[in-house]
């Protein structure tokens, strides 16, 4: 990342192909990882990355340097992924997920998800289940879960990146965690009982 100097950014702003290529070389793997987490498949993740860098080429001249170039590209990647998810799953975005239905969770399950060793996490069936659940989750919730719990952004930063209120981020995060917890509880319960 140290190779991204102010001078290189200035050259990129002037359209220098070599500088733009260096930026792509430096950031493509990290941003691909981010994009894959949202899109859940290689083809879409790569499409998002390509669109992100196309936007960078077209807009880098207005990049003011208030944040790092990586943060700027990070936000473009998130927004590009959201645009694509919205196209793929318009129904996910029509649902209001910003209100908590307390009646929905009025009972606590007495089943606890077991502690897992590292080797358990390598089990292919289990990894597949984890992927299936993330794919099944509403895209609006998935984006929040990835940004907050996986990427480790604060609630405040997640809200800024997505242009949402902090309350909305918290409510959606709660829903995302509940979705995964409830489904994984069922998964383990079935295996332990059978």
């Amino acid at each position: 990342m140290d190779s991204i100097t102010e001078e290189l950014i200035q050259l990129a702003k002037s359209g220098d192909k070599k500088s733009l290529s260096i930026i792509i070389n430096v950031y493509s793997e990290k941003l691909y990882g981010l994009s894959f987490k949202f899109m859940r498949n290689r083809e879409d993740a790569e499409d998002v990355l390509q669109e992100t860098f196309l936007k960078m080429i077209n807009k880098i001249n207005v990049f003011k340097g208030d944040s790092t170039l990586y943060s700027w590209l990070y936000r473009i990647t998130v927004n590009t992924a959201l645009e694509k998810l919205r196209k793929h799953h318009p129904s996910h975005f029509d649902v209001n997920l910003d209100k908590v239905d307390y009646n929905q969770h009025d009972e606590m399950p007495s089943f606890e998800i077991p502690y897992l060793e590292k080797k358990d996490l390598k089990d292919l069936d289990f990894r597949n289940e984890l992927n299936v659940l993330l794919k099944k989750m509403n895209s609006k919730l998935r984006v929040i879960f990835i940004l907050r719990d996986i990427e480790g952004n604060s609630v405040q930063d997640t809200a800024k990146i997505l242009n949402l209120s902090e309350t909305n981020v918290k409510v959606r995060l709660m829903r995302a965690r509940m979705f995964l917890k409830e489904n994984l509880t069922d998964y383990f319960r079935e295996r332990i009982v059978s």
Binding site: K17, L20, S21, I24, N25, S28, E29, Y32, G33, F36, K37, R42, E46, L49, Q50, F53, L54, I57, V100, Y102, H105, D106, E107, M108, P109, S110, F111, E112, I113, P114, Y115, L116, K118, L121, R127, L130, L134, F145, I146, R148, D149, I150, V155, E166, V169, K170, V171, L173, M174, R177, M178, L180, K181, L184, T185
Partner: protein, 77 residues
Amino acid sequence: MKHVHTIEEMKLICQQFGEDIDSEICEEVKKSLENCPECRIHFDSIKKVVNIYKSHEQDSDIPNNLSNRIIKSLNLK
């Protein structure tokens, strides 16, 4: 008999879900619910789920020649 939570208890728990599971405020809530084994199970399970996914999502396989293909497709070569 299943333990049924009051709306206020549930609201209190729900509000903390946006916080770090280990955050001070969340720890306080957990302490206040020490007499509720179901709540403990619930919190621990949520924490485990987040940790499971953190481990699971660490590495994604990077496609071969990713940068080169993008650079080429954007006519930068």
